[in-house]
Point group: C2
Chain length 204, copies 2
DNA sequence: CGTGAGTTTCTAGCATTGCTAGCGACAGGA
DNA sequence: TCCTGTCGCTAGCAATGCTAGAAACTCACG
């Protein structure tokens, strides 16, 4: 019976860990939803606790602090972005670079709070190191794949960083109302042509 | 005598207005200095009041709220940026585009808190409208002047927005440790060549 | 069927934040 | 010399992130 008891203990622990993991995800989802609905200023520990129907200290048993919650949201957001970019791959008609650019900017426009957590707020996520979360690597990998056809002789990863920087600049300056909304298409055209044409030049 | 008295009143009011304006600027300078020294999180109304040697409510007699102070810092920061860009104009050797890009990125790197207030935080400054502060127009004008030699057939203002977006993206992603620091030069080379070469292509 | 140990969750509170009401002091005109 | 209006300060409010310590619950054991 001792083995039976031990087994039952283990299984109970499993259940607890599972419930704990579910609650962990519940907190992340609630934080993201609240941020997307009312902005990150509305994401206070009190409102978040109320939304998940637990008291504040429970949040701190899962995350070191509020910033850790934002970080978790950001990392999962990178997974979302990677998926959205991958879905935009098989765009017939337009170039792969353009498809990726449009998908990226649509993500930034449609989910501004999430984008903010991912790339604007100072969340201190390891980016270049070995323990960079897989979600981030996936998202960047999608950008690399989109740039690859136009890279030519140029260093692929560096060119992708330039591509990403341009997209990020357009996304954030647009959100801050610092660019003329009416010229969105024209800007994207110019940016994409610049990045692509340079390659043709280099080949000749 | 009545005219003398009136004159004296006017002059006293002038002095008061002058002192008030000086204190106004004192607050802005203190906020900027504190932010540059310890980051915007350290800029609390209490610390700021202590630094200017007045009580908190004085701040609110000059500005509607903390956000208005940040906005004032940001606008004056645009003046600083415009001056720095203008100073970088007569760069012999390198192209004007490169000189502007390097000056811009140096500004963002050397004065990160100021740059944050100007272009990252949501400060709600009117950008495209008629009452856009002159400092902003000046700064953008400097970028336009730097882009002009390579614009070719392309729309100058739109191309400048793309140029700015790329610089802004590089600046913010670099600050957030999201780009490989070792490849800074290479990124800038690629970006500038892309923006310039496209023009040659178009001319041919 | 209790009972006690161990874990989990909550109540209550701290220090700090942006902001403001309302009092007191002071200068200038009569 | 008093009166008036401006000016700046003290003191306090509500909200924030976070935490200590009490309370409640779970579950193996007698």
């Amino acid at each position: 019976m001792s083995s039976g008891a031990r087994f039952s203990v283990v299984t109970i622990q499993n259940r607890r860990e599972r419930e704990r993991a579910e609650r962990h995800q519940l907190i992340i989802d609630a934080a993201r939803d609240l941020a997307e609905a009312e902005g990150w200023d509305a994401v206070t520990t009190r409102r978040l606790a109320e939304k998940v129907e637990y008291s504040q200290p429970v949040l701190y048993s899962h995350f070191k602090g509020k910033e850790a919650i934002v970080r978790a949201v950001a990392i999962q957001g990178c997974g979302d972005l990677a998926r959205q970019l991958r879905k935009a791959r098989p765009a017939q008609g337009k170039s792969r670079l353009r498809a990726a650019a449009e998908a990226y900017l649509e993500f930034a426009r449609e989910r501004p709070a999430l984008y903010d957590a991912m790339f604007v707020q100072e969340v201190d996520i390891p980016f270049g190191t070995d323990d960079t979360p897989a979600e981030l690597r996936d998202a960047f990998g999608e950008l690399v794949a989109a740039v690859e056809p136009v890279a030519g002789q140029r260093d692929l990863e560096t060119l992708t960083e330039v591509f990403w920087s341009t997209l990020h600049g357009i996304a954030t300056l647009t959100k801050g109302k610092r660019l003329r909304p009416s010229h969105h298409e024209a800007r994207l055209d110019l940016a994409l042509r610049a990045l692509s044409l340079a390659e043709q030049e280099e080949r000749s």
